[in-house]
C-alpha cells in the first residue's frame, strides 16, 4: 500500500500558499474529500461522472482562493470544501434548468447554518474561454509559458527541456508568447474585464 504525504489544515494551507508544487496537497484532497463530494452529488440528483467534474473544479477554486488569501482557515478546510461543493453543484444544477426545485430542497436540508461562499464561485464558461485562448497559443508557447509562470522553472532549466539554442532565445520566445496572449485578451475588452474579476475572486 502506498503511503502518501498527509497534512494538517495549517500545513495544507501553508504549502498551497507557497511556490512549492501542490501535487501532494492535491492528492491529499483526493484521499480525504473526494468520497464526500461524490456522496453529496449522488444524493442530490447527480452521478459519479458529475462528481468527478465538480471535484476537479472544487480543488481548482479552493487552491486559487487560498493563494489569493481569501480563505485563511476561519473554518476547517473540510467544512469550507463542503460549503464550496454545495455552491458549485447548485450552480451546475441551476445551469441545467432544475434550479427552482433544487433550491427549495437545499434550503430545507440546510437551514441557514452553512457558510455563504457563493460569491467565490467563478463562471465555468469564462474559464473555458480562457483555456481555449491558452490552447490557441500552440504547444511551444504553452510549454515555455507554463514552465516559467506555473512551474516556476528557471530559464536554464527551461532551455534543457526545449530545443532552443540558448537562454536568450528562450527568453525572447517567452516574451513574444506572453505578448501574444496579452493581445488576445486585450483584444476582447469585455472578456478581459470579466476575466479579471473571475481570476481575482473579487
Amino acid at each position: 500500500m502506498k503511503i502518501r504525504r498527509t497534512f494538517t489544515d495549517a500545513a495544507l494551507l501553508e504549502i498551497l500558499r507557497s511556490d512549492e508544487s501542490p501535487d501532494d496537497a492535491i492528492r491529499f484532497l483526493y484521499i480525504t474529500q473526494f468520497d464526500i463530494t461524490t456522496r453529496y452529488v449522488n444524493q442530490n440528483s447527480g452521478n459519479d461522472e458529475d462528481a468527478q467534474d465538480i471535484f476537479q473544479e472544487l480543488v481548482l477554486v479552493f487552491i486559487e482562493l487560498v493563494k489569493k488569501n481569501k480563505f485563511r482557515g476561519e473554518s476547517s478546510v473540510s467544512t469550507f470544501l463542503y460549503a464550496l461543493t454545495r455552491n458549485i453543484w447548485l450552480n451546475e444544477l441551476k445551469k441545467r434548468n432544475r434550479a427552482k426545485l433544487r433550491d427549495e430542497k437545499f434550503d430545507k436540508q440546510q437551514p441557514g447554518t452553512d457558510m455563504d461562499v457563493s460569491h467565490f464561485i467563478m463562471h465555468r464558461e469564462m474559464k473555458t474561454v480562457l483555456m481555449r485562448m491558452v490552447d490557441n497559443l500552440g504547444e511551444p508557447c504553452k510549454k515555455i509559458l507554463l514552465a516559467f509562470y506555473f512551474d516556476n522553472l528557471a530559464m536554464k532549466d527551461i532551455l534543457l527541456a526545449t530545443a532552443y539554442d540558448n537562454e536568450q532565445v528562450v527568453r525572447n520566445k517567452k516574451y513574444k508568447c506572453l505578448k501574444q496572449l496579452e493581445q488576445l485578451i486585450a483584444g476582447k475588452p469585455e472578456l478581459a474585464k470579466n476575466l479579471k474579476s473571475v481570476l481575482s475572486y473579487e
Binding site: K2, I3, R4, R5, T6, F7, T8, A10, A11, E14, E20, S21, P22, D23, D24, I26, R27, Y30, F34, Q52, F55, Q56, V59, L60, I63, E64, K127, L130, M131, M133, V134, L145, L146, F148, Y149, F150, D151, N152, L153, Y175, L178, K179, L181, E182, I185, A186, A192, L195, K196, L199, S200
Partner: protein
C-alpha cells in the same frame, strides 16, 4: 526598438521581478502617471494569472486521472450472495480459521519484541514526484530509492530543510540506524516549533515512535503511540490500532 516595445519589455521584466530597484521605482512612477501603461500592465498581469490558472487546471486534471486509475486498481470486495448457500460448510471453515487466528494472536503477543513490532510496521515514507518542487541532491536520491546516497549526503548539509530532515531520518531508519533517525526527527520537531510550521508533523510523530521501538525504547514510544491512537483525526490513527498498542504496552510491563 520603438517606445512601445521598450515599455512592453520593461513591463514584462517588472512583472517577472527582474528589474533592479532603480529601474523598478522609475517604472512604477511612470505607470502611475501613464494610464495606457497601467492598462498594459493590467493585461499582462491578467495573461500571467490566466497561465497560472491554466497550469493548475491541467495539473489537477492529470492527478485526477492518476487517482481514478489507482481507485480502479483496488481489489474488488466479493459480494456475499453466493456464500449464503454454502453457510454450514463456511461456518466450519470459519471456526477453524478463528482457532488459527486465535493461536496466531497469542503467538504474536507472546513472541513480540519492540524490534519485531517495528519490522512488521515500518515502510519507508513514499515521496511522489512533483514537478516544479525544489529538488535537491538528497531529495532526488530519496525519490530514486538510493538510501545509501541520502545517508552520505545528509551529514554534509549545513541547514537542511524540513523535507531533507524528514527524508534523511527515514533513510537512517530504513538502514536500522535508529538513534541517528531519532536525533533528526527531534531536530525537525524543534525546527517546526521554532518556525511555527507544521511540515511532516504527523508523519514525524509516527516514524519517531517506530524509531524508538527499533532503538529498544518502548517506554518512550508508548506516549506517542497512545496519542496517535486516541486522536481519530491523526493521519496514522488507523495504523496504531488497539492491538498494536496492546503489544507495545506489554514491552513496558516487561
Amino acid at each position: 526598438m520603438n517606445d512601445n516595445s521598450t515599455n512592453s519589455d520593461l513591463l514584462v521584466q517588472y512583472l517577472d521581478g527582474e528589474l533592479n530597484k532603480e529601474q523598478h521605482d522609475a517604472l512604477q512612477k511612470k505607470i502611475q502617471e501613464d494610464s495606457a501603461l497601467a492598462q498594459k500592465l493590467d493585461s499582462l498581469r491578467l495573461a500571467k494569472d490566466s497561465l497560472k490558472s491554466y497550469g493548475l487546471k491541467t495539473r489537477i486534471h492529470n492527478i485526477h486521472a492518476e487517482m481514478m486509475q489507482e481507485d480502479n486498481n483496488k481489489p474488488l470486495v466479493k459480494k456475499p450472495g453466493v456464500l449464503a448457500k454454502m453457510l454450514p460448510y463456511t461456518l466450519r471453515i470459519a471456526a477453524s480459521v478463528l482457532v488459527v487466528i486465535g493461536i496466531s494472536f497469542l503467538y504474536q503477543y507472546y513472541s513480540a519484541s519492540p524490534e519485531k513490532l517495528f519490522e512488521e510496521n515500518f515502510q519507508a515514507f513514499d515521496v511522489h514526484e512533483s514537478r516544479g518542487s525544489v529538488s535537491t541532491t538528497l531529495t532526488n536520491a530519496y525519490k530514486a530509492g538510493d538510501m545509501k546516497l541520502v545517508i552520505q549526503q545528509y551529514p554534509a548539509l549545513k541547514n537542511p530543510t524540513a523535507e531533507e530532515n524528514f527524508l534523511g531520518a527515514n533513510a537512517f531508519l530504513n538502514n536500522h540506524q535508529a538513534a541517528k533517525a531519532i536525533d533528526i526527527f527531534l531536530a525537525l520537531q524543534q525546527q517546526n516549533k521554532n518556525n511555527s510550521t507544521h511540515y511532516f508533523e504527523e508523519d514525524t510523530e509516527y516514524y519517531l515512535a517506530l524509531a524508538y521501538l527499533l532503538n529498544s525504547q518502548p517506554q518512550t514510544a508508548l506516549p506517542i503511540l497512545e496519542k496517535i491512537n486516541h486522536d481519530k483525526n491523526h493521519a496514522y490513527h488507523k495504523k496504531i490500532n488497539s492491538w498494536f498498542l496492546t503489544r507495545a504496552k506489554r514491552f513496558q510491563a516487561k
